[in-house]
């Protein structure tokens, strides 16, 4: 019997009952053990220097990133590149399967890095089933040398997608708030990074309090709340030019910005004389439209993937609960019930689930269906807050605040709740917002 992760519908689709079951991993299951996958360093047909270093060194670095991505998903047990044998360039398409099966590998990732005459590099990526001695998938990426990590993420995505049957998500970016300083005078800076924490960049310098960023779907701009001139308002920051502008001119504070899935509309909250409601406005400006109209606090907001509905939070019932409305504000219906409060709803890019913060003593990350059924809590610490979905709707990112110190850190958890890991950031981090798969 081949080792596969059983149970769950994804596995059920992939699993066959014969002795050589197809290799797969299961994103829903909690089963058995992770898939052993070998990721040796990628050779180069001829060592050449590039703008990002020699191709031999890049081949090893690419393998390291692939192994790290797969390990981080919680579904794989990668080996390599350290501790594994070198692979000759000619061997890439003709693996030594007996060697790898002797090492206990069930799957094998090989590839190469080649410098092209025009200054670009080509990264080849091959996935093999070791027991069946067969190729499962292959892909090649031609990129600028500086973008070598993206080729590695794309290779990891191809492997993940092939073996899980799910959509990929590694080749994506995260906007978040980098934090430092004492608890009563936190310095909070807008920052961006790759999904694995690499290519980190600070956007703001920390002189002005920055909160709650959201990437535009095309990654060209970032919405965030800035306390510039002690007036909390939403700005849209253009990454290429470094310029920013107000989303809407208002004497009232605006906060909790969100993009629609097509990037054409922005949701935000505005407080007038203490009363907060949700508004929408074209990303190009214009006249805002008020969507909620209750004496309570209506805030947050997250579009369904088709852009037709919005999930948001309101305390109109007395405490924070989750509601769904049409995109024009009509038909507002409460969907969260039961003990405790429910806050910060975020609609999965798959459409099947709403992630939220459950407040009942501790703050925990949970999911429920858009009709409010099947509530399941995924984390359990003192304070986890503000879920943000991976591009494939299979992993949730959030931030964790430590009791006492207030120190904040960015975490990811999958839908089993089993695979939870901290995302490395140079300093403390909060308010993570995951963007879509890179184009």
């Amino acid at each position: 019997m081949r080792r596969v992760k059983l149970a769950g519908y994804a596995a059920a689709l992939l699993l066959t009952s014969n002795a050589h079951a197809q290799l797969s991993v299961d994103v829903d299951g909690s089963i058995e053990k992770d898939l052993n996958i070998a990721v040796p360093a990628m050779p180069t047909p001829a060592d050449a220097s590039t703008a990002a270093g020699a191709t031999t060194a890049l081949g090893r670095q690419v393998a390291e990133v692939i192994a790290s991505d797969l390990r981080g998903s919680g579904l794989f047990k990668p080996a390599g590149p350290t501790g594994l044998k070198g692979v000759a360039f000619e061997e890439v398409t003709k693996p030594e399967f007996d060697h790898w099966s002797g090492k206990g590998a069930e799957a094998l990732v090989q590839g190469f890095v080649r410098a092209n005459p025009d200054g670009a590099i080509t990264v080849g990526c091959y996935l093999y089933d070791v027991a069946l001695k067969s190729e499962l998938t292959r892909a090649g990426y031609v990129i600028a040398p500086a973008d070598w990590r993206r080729a590695a993420h794309k290779c990891a995505d191809a492997i993940y997608a092939k073996l899980s049957g799910e959509s990929p998500f590694f080749d994506s970016r995260i906007a978040y708030i980098a934090e430092s300083g004492p608890k009563d005078r936190r310095v909070k800076r807008l920052a961006i990074m790759d999904s694995d924490g690499a290519n980190h960049r600070f956007i703001t310098n920390g002189q002005t309090l920055a909160l709650t960023p959201r990437f535009s779907p095309d990654y060209k701009s970032i919405l965030y709340l800035s306390y510039l001139n002690n007036r909390p308002r939403i700005f849209i920051y253009d990454i290429a030019s470094g310029r920013q502008r107000l989303v809407t001119e208002s004497a009232n504070p605006t906060f909790a910005p969100r993009f629609s899935p097509d990037g054409k509309t922005i949701l935000y909250s505005m407080a007038i004389a203490g009363n907060t409601d949700i508004y929408r406005i074209s990303a190009n400006g214009g006249t805002p439209q008020r969507l909620t109209n209750t004496p309570g606090i209506d805030t947050g907001g997250s579009y369904s993937p088709d852009g037709k509905r919005i999930v948001f939070e309101s305390d109109r019932s007395g405490g924070q609960q989750i509601y769904v409305m049409n995109a024009d504000g009509s038909d507002q219906t409460r969907i969260s019930f039961g003990g405790g409060r429910h806050a910060t709803p975020e609609w999965s890019p798959r459409g099947d689930l709403i992630a939220f913060t459950k407040i009942a003593g501790n703050f925990r990350i949970g999911v429920m269906t858009p009709s409010g059924n099947g509530e399941k809590l995924l984390t359990e610490t003192w304070q986890d807050e503000a879920p943000s979905w991976s591009p494939n709707g299979r992993v949730i990112q959030f931030f964790r605040t430590a009791k006492g110190s207030g120190k904040a850190s960015v975490w990811q958890v999958d839908l089993t709740g089993v695979n939870e890991r901290r995302i490395p950031t140079p300093i403390e981090g909060s308010d993570p917002a995951w963007g879509p798969l890179l184009p």
Binding site: L211, T276, I297, G319, Q320, A386, G404
Partner: protein
């Protein structure tokens, strides 16, 4: 008993000062330094902070802040006394403006806490306005849970952090 007398005194002061304010409304503010020069003012002024300063404000009022229960924003009797003392000072210095900062404790989600701080700051503002302070002299800002006063993660600290703080604009 004490409370009644205080209220009455404040009310009288408000009446007296609003009359004063009308007469003085066109006058420019006093040049900085003249009122606080050592030895030139009355004995009470020379030993205290500069009249109309933030220090004077803090020294003249019951408190610069009011506190709220979890998720609440109502102004109770104790809060009203504090705000009456602030209103009295504002009546005395009709050219002074204030900013009211609304805050929440750390046990709330970020956006909600910003909205909650807005509610609290506006509760304090509305009560000051009901005492006759021109609402145009009062600005508000919510910091949500971003600027705690007490640093602990316990009920006592959270109670101190659920607050609306009045600051003079100098």
């Amino acid at each position: 008993m004490t409370k009644t007398r205080n209220t009455l005194m404040v009310a009288l002061a408000l009446i007296a000062l609003s009359a004063c304010a009308k007469k003085r409304v066109e006058l420019p503010p006093a040049p900085i330094g003249t009122q606080g020069d050592q030895g030139q003012g009355t004995p009470t002024q020379s030993s205290g902070p500069m009249a109309g300063s933030q220090e004077d404000f803090v020294a003249s009022i019951t408190a610069d802040r009011i506190f709220f229960d979890t998720d609440k924003f109502d102004v109770d009797a104790e809060d009203q006394e504090v705000l009456r003392s602030q209103a009295a000072w504002l009546a005395k210095y009709p050219n002074k403006r204030v900013t009211i900062e609304g805050h929440a404790d750390e046990r709330g989600t970020r956006d909600y806490n910003i909205a909650l701080g807005e509610r609290r700051a506006n509760s304090a503002k509305n009560f000051l306005a009901s005492l006759g302070v021109d609402a145009a002299r009062i600005s508000t800002i919510s910091y949500g849970k971003e600027r705690p006063d007490a640093l602990g993660s316990d009920e006592a600290s959270w109670a101190r952090n659920r607050r609306a703080v009045t600051l003079t604009v100098q």
